[in-house]
Amino acid sequence: MQFDFNEQQNEFRQEARRFLAAECSTERVRKALEGGGFDRSLWQGVAEMGFLGIAIPEEHGGLGLGYLELCAVAEEFGRAIAPLPILSSVYLAAEAIKSFGTGEQQAAWLPKIAAGAAIGCLASSEGERLSDKSVRTAFVNGMLSGTKTPVLDGDIADVAIVLAKDADALSLFLLDLSQEGVTRKTLNTIDPTRGQAELTFNNAAAERLGERGEGWASLQTLLDRAAVLVAFEQIGGADRALEMGRDYALERMAFGRQIGSFQAIKHMLADMYVSATLARSNAYYGAWALSTGAAELPRAAATARVSATNAFRHCAKNNIQVHGGMGFTWQMDCHLFYRRSNQLALALGSLPDWEEKLVTRLAAVNEPLAA
């Protein structure tokens, strides 16, 4: 049994951690928060480290490594709450193009994404909880028309993976956002370090990505894979929030003692550790399924997603509580994690949807013996 990252993967993770510690301090995150816009130079630095192309084949400019390396690095991006479109561009767009794209489509976009020269995004939501019945954006004669909102990183993306009606079916499409038929409106969000936009397509040229009619199924596959990667961002964030709380509880004195000596605080932190640990173990399960292409992936992904969403929220929320009044100031970093925990909880579809997926998938496996 080797239910852990191996030495090489851990070394890769360390490299990411060192890089992000040096280049992506919370001061830099704050710049994005405080209206500094997209940090393109940081993005270029990340690209130069090869982090954007970890799971992209070498022939398309990536490192050609596996998902475990990507998971390890995702954890570090989560820990650093990096203000970067890695979720959209790497976990979603690159994966979509790699999995469903033609050789031509891959050659056109993957090298650019790996190099950080193009940013991808997923445009699926249309303003309500998504279902395969509710999609209104339509593909007619090579053109897409409709409105997608919110689109994570849609404010800065160069290319979008779009879910749209394809006559009587749903397909995925690849759409270059630099064309005229595209209008973008930036939206205010609880986590401005990862932008949101409304994208309107008015007869915008698009090409099918993958088979016609496979859009919904492909999207689910894509979301499952991304859920594992995001779970790693979430456990990275949860761990850091826990550490911040722990450190503050050791340092802050009240009533002549460290506040960490009060059981109310100790036990709050212990419970944070418990949820972060369970989430980590579930994320590893997801990583195993993702990296081995196991049939358990749908179940493992939903498990990792629900667990990590709850854990990051729990840790980020209680980290503020441990900090007391200071924890709610702008100057302390606690709120950056609180914001991100909620942003990640809503990306890829929110908790109720994933709870439903999880139970449906568990119930399918556990067929009644007596039926």
Binding site: N188, F255, F262, Q321, Y338, L346, G349
Partner: protein, 415 residues
């Protein structure tokens, strides 16, 4: 068992209602009805301070300000129950009193209990009239839950005190004319024993007020810095070294006013759930997946509402509401955070949006999500409130105190 007024209460209510109906600033109605969800919203268009002062002055002139204060200081000498009835009748216009709550609810009573007659005559009527705004300067960066650990020093210099240090979480300091200030006058005795209280003119040299930007991007509070601020000894409230006792007058009133009527947000959630569409075309409220949580929160909201009815009943019998009121803030704080989190999940990916024009239900839940962490901290953290309930209501022992009877300057400040 009934919710009816006594004949006297009914008469008072009718009088209050009639006066409010005839005098209230009705041009503010729609704005006031929409507010209160943690966002400034469209309030920005109105000069709230001017409107607040105007309404307060009108009430003062007609004898409706600071109802429970004695008439000689600008009040009405009303019973606690009359005060409650007034608050019920004042309705949305009560939001115009927020600016004065700390002054009238906490500082005023402290001055009234501990100030000289001359000070009371001079300071209280303008406070009641809304001409003066007051702030309360107790908390410090290193003294929050452990308030008595404060370090702002006051040193006697002839007939004056020289103050150095800083305060934090001072609501309204930037618009205040006066404040009450708790200082340490003797670090060589046990922490609770070396404190002294003063009232201060906020326009004095040596005071600097800086707003604190909070996590949700707004600044409701300030830091206040004192550099050789000089206060005449005549502005002392209570004896030298008696500051802790004096501060209890203030804090008893704080706990009461913060705790009462704090919302769990359940009504907002229910309102949202009956208006918003569910996943299968029906109403959101008919979605069976949310039933159990709605039910749980419904009982919390209802439980708080009827707990306050019980407290009012006790009040009307002349009994004092106990520290049981701490449960209001404890329950409402955590519940409102849970509800906000749940509600944004119901909005799916749209839940991340914060612009009232774009987000569901005017972004109320997003505003609460971002504001609610503070609710669980300010005016007593959840942990302090549980201690209060355990100790004062249930009679359980206090925490073990390692700083008890230790001279303040010997208490460790670093691990």
């Amino acid at each position: 068992m009934n919710f009816d007024d006594t004949p006297e209460e009914a008469a008072f209510r009718a009088e209050a209602r009639a006066w409010i109906d005839a005098n209230a600033p009705k041009h503010l109605d729609s704005m006031l009805s929409g507010a209160g969800h943690g966002t400034a919203g469209d309030i920005a268009d109105v000069d709230m301070l001017a409107e607040s002062k105007a309404w307060q002055k009108k009430k003062y002139d007609a004898g409706w300000a600071c109802l429970h204060w004695p008439t000689e200081y600008g009040g009405r000498g009303a019973t606690p129950m009359q005060r409650v009835i007034w608050n019920q009748e004042e309705g949305v216009y009560a939001q115009l009193s927020f600016t004065f709550i700390i002054g009238q609810g906490m500082c005023g009573p402290t001055v009234m209990a501990w100030g000289s007659e001359q000070d009371k005559q001079a300071l209280l009527p303008p406070l009641a009239a809304g001409e003066d705004i007051w702030c309360q300067m107790f908390s410090e960066p290193s003294a929050g839950s452990d308030l008595a650990g404060l370090r702002t020093r006051a040193v006697k210099d002839g007939g004056e005190w020289v103050i150095n240090g800083s305060k934090i979480w001072t609501s309204g300091a930037h618009i205040s004319q006066y404040g009450i200030l708790l200082t340490r006058t003797d670090p060589s005795v046990a922490k609770h024993k070396g404190l002294t209280m003063f009232w201060v003119d906020m326009r004095s040299p040596g005071i600097e007020v800086r707003p604190i930007l909070q996590a949700h991007g707004q600044s409701g509070f300030n830091e206040v810095f004192f550099a050789d601020l000089r206060i005449p000894d005549s502005q002392r409230l209570g004896g030298v070294g008696q500051g802790w006792t004096v501060s209890l007058t203030t804090l008893m009133n704080e706990r009461l006013s913060i705790g009462s009527g704090m919302s769990t947000g359940f009504e907002t959630l229910l309102d949202y759930a009956v208006r918003a569409p569910g996943r299968d075309g029906g109403r959101l409220v008919d979605d069976p997946t949310i039933r159990s949580r709605l039910a749980d929160w419904a009982t919390k909201a209802s439980g708080l509402k009827y707990t306050s009815m019980r407290a009012l009943t006790a009040l009307s019998k002349g009994q004092e509401p106990g520290p049981e009121n701490s449960i209001g803030k404890l329950v409402a704080g955590a519940t409102s955070q849970d509800i906000a989190s749940f509600a944004i999940d119901l909005q799916g990916e749209m839940g991340v949006l914060t612009d009232p024009a774009q987000a569901a239900h005017a972004a109320r839940f997003q505003a609460t999500l971002m504001r609610s962490p503070a609710t669980r901290i300010e005016g007593g953290t959840d942990e302090i409130l549980r201690n209060i309930i355990a100790e004062r209501v249930l009679g359980l022992p206090g925490d073990v105190r390692v700083d008890k009877d230790v001279p303040f300057e010997k208490i460790p400040t670093r691990a």
